[in-house]
Amino acid sequence: MSAGLAARERRSRRGHALLLRAFPRSFRERHGPAMTATFMEAWRVVADAPLRTRALFWTRTASDHVVQGLAVRMSGGGVLQASRATGVGFATDLLLAVRALRRAPGFVALVVVTLALGIGANVAVLSLFDAVLLHPLPVAEPEHLFAVHEALGPAARRGGVAYPTYRDLRGAPTGLAGLAAYFDDDLELEEEGRVERTEVSVVSGDYFRVLGLEPQRGRLLVPTDETGSDPAVVVLSDGLWRRRFGADPGAVGSTVHLNGTPVTVVGVAPRGFRGVSLGSDVELWIPLPLAPRIARDGIFAAEDALTHRGLKILNVVARVGDGVTPSMLQERLDRSRLAADAESVADG
């Protein structure tokens, strides 16, 4: 799979995760994974289709999920039975209205598309509102975290950061409390013969320390996982640990295969933590040096993915002390003679 297609697939899965919010939580917990699997199979059919076809697919999916989600929330029964439509009054009026509308398919399509986009956009905004304001990043003191971008020039200032640049920045006397890097990707997780495409965050060794997170089981990734000779370790999300391992404490220390490569499970991340990016649903964390060893495609399949200064692929998060403002951080970064840009994570 090309890097572009993999990225689109990841975005589509996130988009579908937002649409699933239309259904009640109990319904999502019961059917969510199967619905996602079904949706992604349908998505792959149109993945390379013209934009118009893909837009129609998304419109249909959005309207379907919103309508069915509302129906599940509102219905007590009657799902299986066809309307008996034998009465008078409202039922008859409704039937006549439907018949009339069937003669004006263009109008109906316009209304449906408008409603779908409107409702879909509202669902997305409310989900964003929920993610940003009601459920902020589950890390220690998120107000002390800032996103750091490598300057790409006046036309596109906020790029990612190349790994060599990140290491230089991390070693420079910037006075920061910590600087972590990550890149979200997909890979195949195989455990006891079962293979699953899984969202993974490829991270620097101090990622969890910078975020101020503690393990639920075992340990999290540490700097020596990035700098040492054996980076073949992985941390599981709480969700994956429960779903795939039945919350078995013995999962820590076991071996799983990532893209066919054996890797040791060293710990389980705290419950509720699913990565740093908005809407991400990360289920595995691996050290940066492991990614090129196991990559079959995508950016990490490039030999120089971690050595080329032009490959500005990493998201970088800085932790600062009390009272440090974005402009103060910018000044410190500028002093380090590295072209970088900073913005508050808390401000989005």
């Binding site: 259904f23 619905m35 349908a42 039975q81 699953e196």
Partner: protein, 123 residues
């Protein structure tokens, strides 16, 4: 309409929704996962009936509650553990048969009224 919590008879569920009948028919040859059911319904109806993902799982949720379908073990060669397989139950078969019998009676009414030719003549 059966009351919540009770076990409905097949007749109580009639008339079945078009999609529900086709979903039951799609499972007659064996257990399928969601996407395979969507494809099978589309194939059986020549594209006339298409079930979207949200509708599919809303129907399956209720069909399972009413005992028309049940979850089936995942085949050994299935690698995606998110997939859930469904099978039609004996009650589901009975409901599909009852619905088709109801349709047959409707068609017979049409024949007797002279609106439709007898099946043999039509063929």
């Amino acid at each position: 309409m059966p009351s919540p919590g009770s076990s409905p008879s097949a007749a109580e569920l009639l008339p079945l929704k078009n999609e529900v009948l086709h979903l039951l028919l799609s499972l007659l040859d064996g257990p399928l996962h969601g996407y395979a059911m969507m494809q099978e319904v589309e194939r059986r109806t020549g594209g006339a009936v298409r079930v979207q993902t949200g509708a599919l799982y809303r129907f399956l949720h209720r069909m399972e509650e009413d005992g028309l379908v049940g979850e089936s073990p995942r085949p050994e060669d299935e690698s995606d553990e998110r997939r859930r397989y469904y099978r039609v139950t004996a009650f589901g078969r009975a409901a599909a048969a009852a619905e088709l019998q109801r349709m047959r009676a409707l068609v017979q009414s049409g024949v007797e009224a002279g609106v439709l030719p007898p099946a043999a003549e039509e063929a």
